[in-house]
């Protein structure tokens, strides 16, 4: 490919880059990764095997993991996280799918406006929308309860009841992220060839059959991606319970991420917090892998 007819005095042939060039472009990333990613992950692995005893970081083997395996609060946090995961992710992605189909349909008027309306919550920071929702959902003086009451429904103890507190977090998450997933689905929908639908219509397929046999299979890559990403995100859930409920009432909305934070930065038990982090990593790895396999196999 490269020309071999260049003068030999040149240090390199014209038309080919010096071998070091890609490494130079990568250099900043490599240095930053080494210092702020690879080292912290390895250091956390070491920390998870230690405990601070009389001010000294002491090696305790798998002691932290043993303690975790018998810690009822950890199981509470794990259960809470999984409950939110299995309700919120299907709810959100189901809504996003319907929205994407609507946004793609000529039946909907003012499509561009509504697309923006559903997407715009994503720009609001977690703290901002936590504050906003905690005032809207205030049991005594919140706007939501006022509206419920004005149509004859009972007030709801949104943030004070263990079940409703979870529901509040699910509502907040759904409000924030649904439009984002819908936009991803919409882009994939627009890449499905229109001829497929036309051919199916000529063959007499109903709207439902077209959705089931053309739309859903066409969306498979986007569905796989959003399921895995939303799952990873939900397993790491921290900000919403931190600002909305502070994990309460009575640990009903304590998540693994919050429990890690509490141990690390409230009790300064760095070893235990790191062990929680690595167990969380393991859970995320296993679940993401299962989802990938399941969704991939169905595709084949």
């Amino acid at each position: 490919m490269t020309s071999k007819l260049q003068p030999a005095t040149r240090r390199r042939w014209r038309g080919s880059a010096p071998r070091l060039t890609p490494y130079l472009f990568l250099l900043p990333v490599l240095v930053l990764f080494a210092g702020f990613k690879v080292y912290p992950y390895l250091y956390a692995a070491w920390l998870s095997l230690t405990k601070i005893i009389k001010g000294q970081t002491t090696f305790v083997g798998l002691g932290n993991y043993g303690r975790l395996a018998a810690d009822p609060i950890f199981y509470k946090a794990l259960t809470n996280t999984l409950i939110i995961l299995v309700t919120q992710v299907p709810l959100m992605l189901g809504l996003a799918l319907l929205l994407a189909v609507a946004f793609n349909s000529a039946l909907l008027k003012f499509r561009a406006f509504w697309r923006t309306a559903y997407f715009v919550p994503i720009v609001m920071g977690l703290v901002a929308y936590g504050i906003l929702f905690s005032t809207l959902l205030n049991s005594h003086h919140g706007l939501v309860n006022f509206l419920l009451e004005s149509v004859g429904l009972p007030r709801v103890p949104w943030l004070a009841d263990p079940v409703w507190a979870k529901v509040s977090i699910i509502i907040a998450l759904t409000w924030h992220y649904t439009g984002n997933s819908a936009v991803i689905y919409l882009a994939q929908l627009q890449s499905i060839p229109g001829e497929l639908y036309e051919a199916a219509e000529i063959d007499g397929a109903t709207a439902w059959q077209r959705f089931w046999h053309i739309t859903l299979p066409g969306l498979r890559p986007a569905i796989t991606l959003t399921v895995v990403l939303s799952t990873i995100g939900t397993l790491q859930l921290f900000d919403e319970p931190y600002v909305l409920t502070n994990g309460g009432p009575n640990n009903a909305t304590l998540t693994i991420g919050m429990y890690l934070y509490q141990n690390g930065f409230k009790y300064f038990d760095f070893g235990y917090a790191s062990a929680i982090g690595y167990v969380l990593t393991g859970i995320i790895g296993v679940i993401a892998l299962i989802q990938f396999r399941f969704l991939r196999e169905k595709q084949a």
Binding site: W114, I131, L136
Partner: protein, 279 residues
Amino acid sequence: MRTDRSLQARGASLAVSIVIAIGGVLMLAPFYWLIIASTHRTSDIFSNPPNLVPGDQLWVNLTNLFVGEGFGQAVLNSTLVATIYALLGGLVCTAAGYAFAKFRFAGQGVLFGIVLVILALPSQVTLVPLFQIMVQLNWLNTYQALILPNLALPFGIFLMRQTMQSVPDELIQAARVDGAGEFRIFAQIVLPTMRPALAALGIFLFLAQWNDFVYPLIVLRTSDAYTVPVALASLQGLSDTDYGQLLAGTMVSVLPVLGLFLFLQRHFVAGILAGAVKQ
């Protein structure tokens, strides 16, 4: 028959539009209420029936916030940190994406594998080690503590690698034959063709840093170093929270990114999609 069908289509169109409109109003309602609430005092925010029209306390709330609580410092910190982060991070990720997309070199597969692994790992694991690193470097309460750890953002590298693949090899090759240096090729030939992707990445990075909460909460220990979200959370944590002031602050935190988003929506959506849908 024909009129029957078009009537049916009209009915369906109306039904879909109404359902989407109701949902859309629910999506936008919190924004409307935020603007309204920031113009009232606490007692009027929680009054019964609620106030749904603007009040006259906006100026008072903003004055309390900026003069009384020194919120201006937090806005300044956030603006500087997010801007520097977006510029430097954009450059660092783009350079790495260029290397991965347009060069073949030893260790490429392994290095890109590391990018993907870090992308998938929960960042919470690094909270404790990063805190200790910042303590040892004496970097608590500094801008660099906020900017450096996530400057090499795996998602950004991934995004730029995907986009860079669309730059024709011939363009780069021709510049080399003309004797242009590698960095000149990158800066003067590759980067200009990447403008939309750079805008998308820049907005993404700015927003991520502007809204980031957990990590700043850990490394910012004094109030004059707070970013906007940390300052807001500290106001919310007070026993006698002034909600007018708090919601005015929340509005101040949302308006810049809302404006950025509405003006640059096309690039913003493109950024999310480039990372998501391309195979």
